[in-house]
Amino acid sequence: MLTEDVPGSRVRIGDGGQAPSPVRRRRRGIGWAQRLEIAMLSGPAILIFLAFVILPVLMAAYYGFYRWKGFGVPTNFVGLDNYVTILQDKAFREALWHNGLIVVLSLVIQGPIGLGLALLLNQKLRGQSVIRVLIFVPYVIAEVIAGTAWGLLLQAGGAVNGILRSIGLGGLAQDWLANPKLAIWTLMFILTWKYIGFAVILFLAGMQNIPEELTEAAAMDGASYWQTQRRITVPLLGPTIRIWVFLSIIGALQLFDLVYIIWGQYVSSTAGTSTMATYLVTEGRNAGNYGYGNAVAVVLFLISMIIALGYQRFVLRRDTQGALTGGR
C-alpha cells in the first residue's frame, strides 16, 4: 500500500538533490525492514493468542481421546469412546436441545425488542442519554450479580411471588426456577433482560451510519415515521443485524455463567436448563473426568464452528468485511 506512494514524494523533491536517495534506500530495504516491523508489531499479540487460545483448544482435542483423571500424562487412549458416550448420553442430548431452543428463542425474542428499543432511542427524546444508560445497566453488571439477584427474586419465597401475593395474584405464584416446565422460560426472560442492551448498542451504532439525508428525503416525500423506519432504517441496518445474529447464536451456544450461577451444578439438568457448557463443567471437571470433559469441549467447539462457518458462508458473505474468512 505504501510502496506506491513514492511518486507522490517525488513531486515535493524538486528542492534538493539528496532527497530521492533515502526514498530509494527505503524502497530497497523494504523487504526485511517491513518484515521486521510486521513481526515486531504483530508478534506479541500472535504469540499470546497462540499460547492461550489456540494451544489449549488443540490440547482439548488431544485429551479428548483419553480416559484421564487429570493426574500426570494421559496414557489410557480410548479412541472415540468418549465421543460415543457423549452422543449416547441422554443428559447431553437434553443439554444440546436446550442450547438449540435458547439459540432460536434468543433471536426471536431479543431481535424485535432490541430493534424496537434502538429505534426508540435513536429519536430525539428528552432524557435520552439517561434512558440509554439505564437500558445498558443489566448488560454491564456481572453475570454473578445478575444471577444472584434473580435467584433471590425468583425463588419460591422470593420477592416476585411476594409481590404477586400482595396484589392479590397469589394464584400466579410459581416455583419459577425449579419447575421444569417453567424454568427454561424463566431463563429466557433473564437472558433477554441481561443481553438486550448489547443488541441495542449494536443497532444504535449501526443507525449512526445511515445518512440522515435518506430519512429526511423520505419524510419530505410524505412517508410517515414508521414507514421510514420500516423501508429505510431497518433494511439499511441489515449488516449490523446479521452481525448481531451471529454473535447471539455463538453466545447462546456457549451459554454457561448465568445457568451455572442460578441453577448450580446439578439442578440445571433436572430443571431443564442445562447447556452443553454446564454439562461440560459438571461431567468433566467437577466429576474429575478430564478426558471426557475435553471431548465435550471438542463437540461444543465443532458445533459452534460449523454453525459459524455456515452462517459466514451463506449469510455474512454479502457484508464485505468477511470477518471470518480473512477480510480483504
Binding site: 499479540a45 427524546l125 445497566v137 433482560w193 477480510g327
Partner: protein
C-alpha cells in the same frame, strides 16, 4: 439544529420528544430493567427478618449496618483490589497488543495477512469454556495458578479477537493522504504509527478498552477455575463465596452484591456515549 428539524414538513412525528406513548413504553422498560438492581440495593438496607416476613417490601426502618459491615471488611476491599488489577492489566494489555496487530492488518500488504486476520477472527468462536481444562493445566505448568497474572494473560488472549475486529476497520479508515503526507515528511512507518495512528485510533481504543475492562471485571469462568485461594479472589468469585457463606443472611448478601456492581456501572455510564461512537466504525449500517 432543533429549528431545522421542526421545520421539516410532516417528518417530525415521533421526534421532538412529544409522543407520550414513547415515554410510557420507555418508562415500563426502565422499570423492568432496573427492578432487580433496585431490589438488590434497597434490600441491602433491610434486615433479614424484614425480608423473611415480606420479601417484596421496603426497608422499615432503613438499616445501614449491612453496608457498613461490608465496607469495613478486609475481604471486600481485597477483592476490589484484585479485580481492579486484573481488569486494568487486561485492558492495558489488550489495547497495546491489539492496536499493534490491528495496525499491521490494516496498513500493511503482505502474504499471510488474510490468514492472520482469519486466525484472530476465528477466535470469536473459541470461548474460554471450550479450552478451560487445558488452560488450567497450561497455567499450572507455568506456575501461575492462584496468581493474578495467571488470569490476566488468558484474558488478554481471549479479548484480542473482538479488539482486532473492531480496530482494523477503524485504522483502515484513516485517510491515505495523511499517510502520504507523513511519508513525504520522511516519517518512517513506525513514526507514522506513533505520531498519527495512535492519536487517531483513540476512539476505537476507548471502545475496545471499555469492553475489555467491563468483561474482565465481570469475568467468572476463568477466575473460577484458575483462582482457588481466597486471597486472590476477584469480586465475582467473592460475591459467590459470600453468598454461599452467608446464605442465611440475605440482607448482607444483597449489600455485598450491590456494592460490587458500582465500579462497572460508573465506568460504563461515563463512557457509554463513546462505546456507541466507537462501534460505529466496526459495524456497517
Amino acid at each position: 439544529m432543533a429549528g431545522t428539524r421542526s421545520s421539516r414538513p410532516g417528518g417530525g412525528h415521533g421526534r421532538g420528544g412529544g409522543d407520550p406513548i414513547v415515554y410510557a413504553v420507555a418508562l415500563v422498560l426502565i422499570g423492568v430493567m432496573l427492578g432487580p438492581v433496585l431490589y438488590i440495593i434497597i434490600g441491602g438496607f433491610r434486615t433479614n427478618s424484614q425480608i423473611t416476613t415480606d420479601p417484596a417490601g421496603l426497608p422499615h426502618p432503613w438499616e445501614s449496618g449491612n453496608y457498613t459491615g461490608v465496607l469495613t471488611s478486609d475481604a471486600f476491599w481485597r477483592q476490589v483490589g484484585n479485580s481492579a488489577i486484573v481488569a486494568g492489566a487486561t485492558t492495558a494489555g489488550v489495547a497495546t497488543l491489539g492496536v499493534m496487530a490491528s495496525y499491521v492488518l490494516a496498513r500493511y500488504r503482505f502474504r499471510g495477512r488474510g490468514a492472520m486476520y482469519a486466525l484472530f477472527a476465528a477466535g470469536l468462536m473459541f470461548p474460554a469454556t471450550v479450552a478451560i481444562t487445558p488452560l488450567y493445566i497450561l497455567v499450572k505448568n507455568l506456575g501461575l495458578v492462584n496468581t493474578l497474572p495467571g488470569v490476566i494473560l488468558p484474558q488478554i488472549a481471549f479479548a484480542l479477537p473482538t479488539t482486532v475486529i473492531i480496530l482494523v476497520p477503524f485504522l483502515q479508515a484513516i485517510p491515505k493522504d495523511i499517510e502520504e503526507a507523513a511519508a513525504i515528511d520522511r516519517c518512517s512507518r513506525l513514526g507514522f504509527f506513533w505520531r498519527m495512528v495512535l492519536p487517531l485510533s483513540v476512539p476505537g481504543l476507548i471502545t475496545t478498552g471499555i469492553l475489555a475492562f467491563v468483561n474482565s471485571w465481570n469475568s467468572y469462568l476463568l477466575p473460577l477455575f484458575l483462582l482457588n485461594d481466597q486471597d486472590t479472589f476477584t469480586l465475582p468469585l467473592g460475591v459467590q463465596a459470600f453468598a454461599s457463606e452467608y446464605s442465611v443472611d440475605t440482607a448482607k448478601v444483597l449489600a455485598f452484591t450491590s456494592l460490587s456492581m458500582i465500579p462497572a456501572l460508573v465506568f460504563f455510564s461515563l463512557f457509554q456515549r463513546r462505546i456507541v461512537g466507537g462501534l460505529t466504525g466496526a459495524v456497517k449500517g
